[in-house]
Symmetry: C2
Subunit: 328 residues, 2 copies
């Protein structure tokens, strides 16, 4: 076990971490935690294949009764569809183990904002987000529904129903949306600037204002060859026009980790977040008050941890999740 502390290193990290290299260190690590939260890309898989040893490590953790949660910002697919993706990587996950920002968003609207299910959700997002909101009991508008309205030039009248806006919408929810259009953005905008009724009627209630919730803040979305505009690019225009800051759910924001612990069944002190990025995964764990493990199979290197502007310093580092395969 190699402990590096801010006091002794030349380029001091803003805290100390432990680099786990020996089998005994790994054994101790696994004993210390009951709940393992995993980022996926760069941790579990990379470039379309599962990383070496990962399938075996997951099986060994399960065999020891560990609770596994795959925590992903990907809100384009529902947990049901994400599960198929896991299967293609040779990983036999269960629906309960998949925790996406789309699922967390639906939980947040229901359990934190307490929005009644007779209020509709206007979706600037994809199937994954729609499905999770519907599973939570909400009727969705926008989203993947075929667009029936076309604006000619700057004639905005077709956007209004009988010259009016739909007042049954209690929340605008955004995520990555590869079928984003101006029509969707314009509708979402009008809901967001709708004046709330005076008095006690709150956002999300009849006659009240409208919530603004976004799955995650990633400005880009990775694909095999290139990156493309991500969720953060989809809702940026709405924020600009409506002059409202959305509630951001996914990593590195706190709502997603808070929804994980909301039902009280998991103990934060016995939980560790495993990821490859300091600014999302490791910062996310720290904000949520849990220990963190950085793997070097993705974005961040050990050097990044030492950088003066390192966004977060992990509790532990291993070369890769496969290193845990030394477990018997």
């Amino acid at each position: 076990m190699t402990t590096t502390s801010g006091a002794t290193a030349t380029k001091a990290p803003r805290g100390s971490y432990t680099f786990l290299r020996e089998a005994a260190d790994i054994e101790q690590l696994v004993d210390r935690y009951d709940n393992f939260l995993f980022d996926c890309d760069g941790v579990i898989w990379s470039g379309g294949v599962a990383l070496p040893g990962v399938v075996s490590v997951l099986n060994k953790l399960r065999a020891r009764g560990k609770h596994i949660l795959f925590v992903t910002n990907n809100a384009s697919k529902s947990r049901r569809i994400l599960l198929d993706m896991f299967k293609r990587f040779g990983i036999d996950a269960t629906l309960e183990e998949v925790y996406s920002s789309a699922f967390a968003t639906a939980l947040y609207i229901k359990n934190v904002l307490h929005m009644p299910t007779d209020r509709k959700v206007f979706v600037m997002g994809m199937q994954g987000l729609e499905e999770e909101l519907q599973l939570a009991g909400y009727t969705t508008l926008g989203g993947t529904a075929p667009e029936t309205v076309k604006i000619e030039g700057t004639d905005f009248a077709p956007l209004l129903v009988d010259g009016e806006l739909d007042h049954s919408v209690g929340a605008v929810v955004c995520g990555i949306d590869t079928s984003l259009t101006y029509v969707k953005m314009a509708r979402a905008f009008r809901y967001l600037v709708r004046p709330g009724a005076t008095g006690e009627v709150r956002a999300g209630e009849v006659g009240g204002g409208c919530h603004f919730v976004c799955t995650n803040s990633d400005a880009t979305f990775p694909s095999k060859e290139y990156t493309w505009p991500g969720a953060g690019a989809v809702w940026a225009g709405l924020r600009e026009a409506a002059r409202r800051e959305p509630v951001l759910i996914g990593k590195p924001n706190q709502p997603m980790i808070d929804t994980i612990f909301a039902d009280g069944s998991l103990n934060r002190a016995r939980t560790i977040m495993v990821g490859d990025r300091l600014n999302t995964d490791i910062a996310f764990g720290q904000r949520g008050g849990v220990d963190t493990l950085l793997v070097l199979t993705g974005i961040a290197s050990e050097e990044d941890v030492h950088a003066e502007d390192a966004p977060a310093v992990p509790t532990y580092i291993v070369n890769g999740l496969g290193d845990l395969d030394v477990l018997p």
Copy 2:
């Protein structure tokens, strides 16, 4: 003539202005300037009709040999189409008198950025912007061209031509775009993050990077009943994803006023900007080094000028442009 100065007023404006009330004041004003730059909405017309006396005032200014320029951020329509709009208000303007942010954007790319016309322009915008760019000699992509590509889920491959991006694009140009789609945004994004060739090859040239120019920064666009997302909402997502700040052309930014004076035919000292908004029109005139006249027929009141956070203080105020109709 009533002069209010910061030293004496209770709520001190950040400078002094002169409120013109007498015929002699108006006569002096008109004698002092050769070039009258007019904002339109709230100055020339309001709520679909020309403001009282305005048609007569414009005719009297023309009769005295004054040079008139209608300066508008509206980039949805070309100058040709805007001219029809003026006719509907009973105003006989000429093409040379209409100065839109779309026209200024095309001039900027040609005369300031010196982009060769064999480089194409990718447009996230409408007919007005396309037409002005084409008149300046550029081939446009995107814009109002029917979309031939559809992304299914997060399969981005259809966005690439033979697996590649179109390297003939030298500039991405944005304005309000009521036919905005994710596909357009994604294409524009890839042009903007294209690495420029090393060495002396600049943005807009073969093998170089890509310019990022936007007609204006207005986050909303007014229509009869409601406001809708404006140009600033259209390009916000691109800025977020590409992490690039665009060059902003229209009011209150300086490029538009600089293009007005670029050919040296107008004298700034003999020019006055007339508008109804402190944060766009009056700030615009000041940045351009010309005197300014605030009319109270639109957004700003005299009280706004006295506000502690007033974005700009005009040289003069009149109740409305119609007040100038006292001219013989």
